[in-house]
């Protein structure tokens, strides 16, 4: 027993040394995680806070000016061009100078208050339909507020009081950054695990390892533990940035989150080691890992919601540990979900780990080269 543990300890130490002895490796395992958290925390946003627009005002009236003043008053809209003819609309939109063009027809003022109202034409740049859609929504909100100030309005209007749970200002960052706690570490940890055996195969030291008294399960645990430790360290760094740099309030308990992440990282390392055991060299290991990582990240719900996917894709995501890790991270972090509420998400981790870790150990000896 003591012997077993001593061998395991040596294997772990060796694995840590291989990964960390190169200063460039130490940098690559820490700095990118920090940089990406900051970059994506600031950059990955669907929040619309700057809408450049152009105006074609053929009415030249008082009402259109009042409406425009309201628009400018939001702080979100700013006018980049004042057009003279409808022929200029295309140029303003295609060049990307303006996200939208507001077109007031000559009879705008006179139709206001009349039957059917005054149409305000809004031309939107649909090259990014998500941005265009939310810009149109904001224009409509400003126009609704403007309409309420018109004489005779407001008698039967229904006012909507919206309240969003867990994210009162509906900031994208609050959604993305907790998701990064799981995603960023997965990318590097799976790669590390995948390289661990493949590196030794390529250098010919793996065969030497196999003829020593250590058992395949010891090798597996010896390779898995350092990778898990590095993954959890990376997750902690992201968590720290989320809380202290971005100041996103954490509602749940760190212990619950950590439990989930530990099981998740085990599943990730299991996948990585299985790939490693299957690959003949480092290049293959990296390519296999990458080909697997891309769909896992894309279909995880990090940037686009899982609920928007077609049924078949949603079912396929049950095999994706990252989907559940992101779910746990968001619910525990933002919503304060407890262990009893998220434990079901642990099942996929346990299944993946229970299959891949023993498989990797078995493959160490049984791989057909």
């Amino acid at each position: 027993m003591i012997d077993y543990l001593r061998r395991l300890l040596n294997l772990c130490r060796n694995e840590f040394l291989v990964v960390l002895k190169d200063p460039a490796n130490r940098v690559i395992l820490l700095v990118p995680v920090i940089l990406q958290t900051l970059l994506f925390g600031y950059g990955a946003t669907f929040d619309l806070n700057d809408v450049p627009y152009a105006v074609l005002d053929q009415s030249r009236g008082e009402q259109s000016q009042r409406l425009l003043a309201r628009l400018d008053g939001t702080g979100v809209f700013h006018r980049v061009a004042t057009l003279q003819s409808s022929g200029q609309i295309a140029e303003a939109i295609v060049s990307g100078d303006a996200l939208l063009v507001l077109h007031f027809a000559p009879d705008f003022d006179s139709r206001l208050g009349g039957q059917g109202g005054a149409p305000l034409q809004v031309v939107l740049d649909g090259r990014n339909s998500t941005t265009a859609g939310s810009a149109a929504g904001q224009v409509r909100a400003v126009v609704a507020a403007f309409n309420a100030t018109l004489p005779g309005a407001g008698t039967a209007a229904i006012s909507l009081e919206s309240r969003a749970w867990f994210n009162p200002n509906l900031e994208t960052r609050w959604n993305i950054v907790p998701g990064l706690i799981a995603s960023l570490s997965m990318i590097q940890v799976m790669m590390l695990a995948a390289l661990s055996v493949a590196r030794e195969r390529e250098q010919g030291t793996f065969d030497q390892l196999l003829v020593t008294p250590v058992s395949p399960s010891q090798i597996m645990i010896g390779k898995a533990l350092p990778a898990i430790a590095i993954g959890l360290l990376q997750s902690s760094v992201v968590l720290l940035i989320a809380r202290s740099w971005f100041g996103i309030p954490m509602a749940g308990s760190v212990a619950t989150l950590a439990t989930g992440l530990l099981l998740f990282t085990m599943a990730v390392v299991g996948i990585g080691l299985s790939i490693s055991a299957l690959s003949a060299n480092m290049q293959q290991a990296m390519l296999y890992t990458f080909v697997l990582l891309v769909p896992l990240v894309l279909l995880s719900g990090l940037a686009t919601p899982v609920r928007n996917m077609p049924e078949a894709f949603q079912i396929a995501t049950y095999a994706n540990p990252l989907r559940f890790a992101i779910d746990i991270a968001r619910r525990v972090y933002l919503e304060g979900a407890t262990l009893s509420e998220v434990w079901r998400d642990f099942i996929p981790f346990l299944c993946v780990a229970a299959i891949t870790l023993p498989l990797a150990a078995w493959l160490f000896r049984h791989r057909l080269v």
């Binding site: 950059g43 990014n128 126009v143 005779g152 309240r163 940037a303 928007n308």
Partner: protein, 375 residues
């Protein structure tokens, strides 16, 4: 042996090497197909199929008008329950995305001109929440307008006389995110092949010393680089071809601009992407480092910071500056415009010039980093 025939011989060798390891074809062929399917069918930013629970505590026709209007929205799947407490439980169990509360005094307050509807949203997904908010707002406006109609023509003239927003979405008549995600895919696929695959393969040669073995022969470093570039350039173009076919046949994304311009600018971007890959490998000379840097410096930013999914217009200045340092951003802009808007020459020429500058600078740097040296 002349330079040309030497280069041809080298290119042939590289091709054989590329084709021999099937894992290379995974990145070159299988991954692009997977990406096309995932982006075309799997990912969507459109808010549809919203599970809305309505807590209806008022039996008045006015309240029923609101429910009918919500029910009429094609985006909302409405379930009506009789009490707020019940609806609240549905929200807590994450079985609903939003809750609309019509309190018992709704009709009375509506008559008094002070009708309020409470909307609760799951803020965990803010994009979706904001979309749902505007759908509900729209449905309520319809309900209010119907009520007006019934009250009579007199008041109709007044309240119907406000500004009516008529919006027209240019370049994306279907109003679907697929139309901008699929063209963006071209950028992704070419970045993968050009930067990631090339960096990996070259770093392996550096690490194993096989490049040095080449250098002791009379071939010049430029010829070695050229021979390395050609096969990956062609693999990248194959990926481009698949994306174009898929965009056209599978997703019917319209192609407004000129195909020739798209091909030309894509080839230019392929050279830029290869240049980054060569530079990373020559500087790191280590497979693990090269793969990590290639992912971090090219793939992830190409997804997150090029304006692919997230609009660069919305981000803070510092991030926007970083985004605009990436060649992928300029390529992305042109690709989207060519697909959805048409051939807009000022943009094509400006971004083409920027990409050409990147290509020259990166290849020169890669060449400088690939000196014949033994260390």
């Amino acid at each position: 042996m002349s330079g040309v025939s030497r280069t041809i011989a080298l290119v042939r060798k590289e091709f054989r090497q590329l084709l021999r390891d099937r894992s290379n074809l995974l990145i070159g062929i299988v991954l692009p197909i997977a990406l096309i399917l995932i982006f075309g069918f799997g990912l969507s930013l459109d808010v549809r199929d919203v599970r809305l629970v309505v807590a209806l505590e008022d039996a008045s026709p006015q309240a029923h008008d609101v429910v009918a209007a919500l029910d009429g929205s094609t985006y909302l799947r409405t379930t009506v329950v009789r009490s707020y407490a019940e609806a609240y439980r549905t929200m807590q169990a994450h079985e609903a995305d939003a809750l609309v509360y019509l309190p018992g005094d709704f009709a009375r307050r509506m008559a008094a001109g002070d009708a309020r509807v409470q909307l609760l949203l799951q803020g965990g997904d803010p994009t979706r929440a904001a979309g749902i908010g505007s759908y509900v707002e729209g449905a309520l406006a319809i309900a209010a307008a119907k009520r007006q109609d019934r009250v009579g023509a007199a008041s109709h003239a007044v309240a119907g006389g406000g500004v009516a927003v008529v919006d027209r979405m240019w370049f994306n008549a279907a109003n679907t995110s697929t139309w901008y995600l699929v063209p963006g895919l071209i950028v992704l696929v070419m970045t993968l092949v050009g930067t990631f695959l090339t960096a990996l393969v070259m770093a392996r040669e550096w690490e194993r010393g096989t490049l040095e073995a080449l250098f002791v022969t009379p071939v010049r470093p430029t010829e070695v680089l050229l021979a390395k570039i050609v096969p990956y350039f062609l693999v990248g173009l194959a990926g481009l071809g698949m994306c174009l076919l898929a965009a056209r046949l599978l997703f019917s994304v319209p192609m407004q601009g000129s195909l020739a311009v798209l091909l030309a600018i894509s080839m230019l971007y392929m050279i830029v992407s290869l240049g980054i890959g060569l530079l990373i490998s020559a500087l790191t000379r280590n497979q693990f480092l090269a793969s990590q840097i290639a992912i971090l410096a090219s793939f992830l930013p190409a997804v997150m910071l090029s304006g692919f999914i997230f609009d660069l217009g919305n981000v803070p200045t510092a991030v926007s500056v970083i985004g605009h340092l990436l060649p992928a951003t300029y390529f992305m802009e042109v690709v989207k415009t060519l697909f959805l808007a048409g051939t807009y020459w000022p943009l094509v020429l400006r971004n083409g010039a920027i990409l050409a500058l990147y290509a020259v600078a990166l290849l020169a740097l890669a060449r400088a980093a690939t000196r014949k040296r033994l260390d």
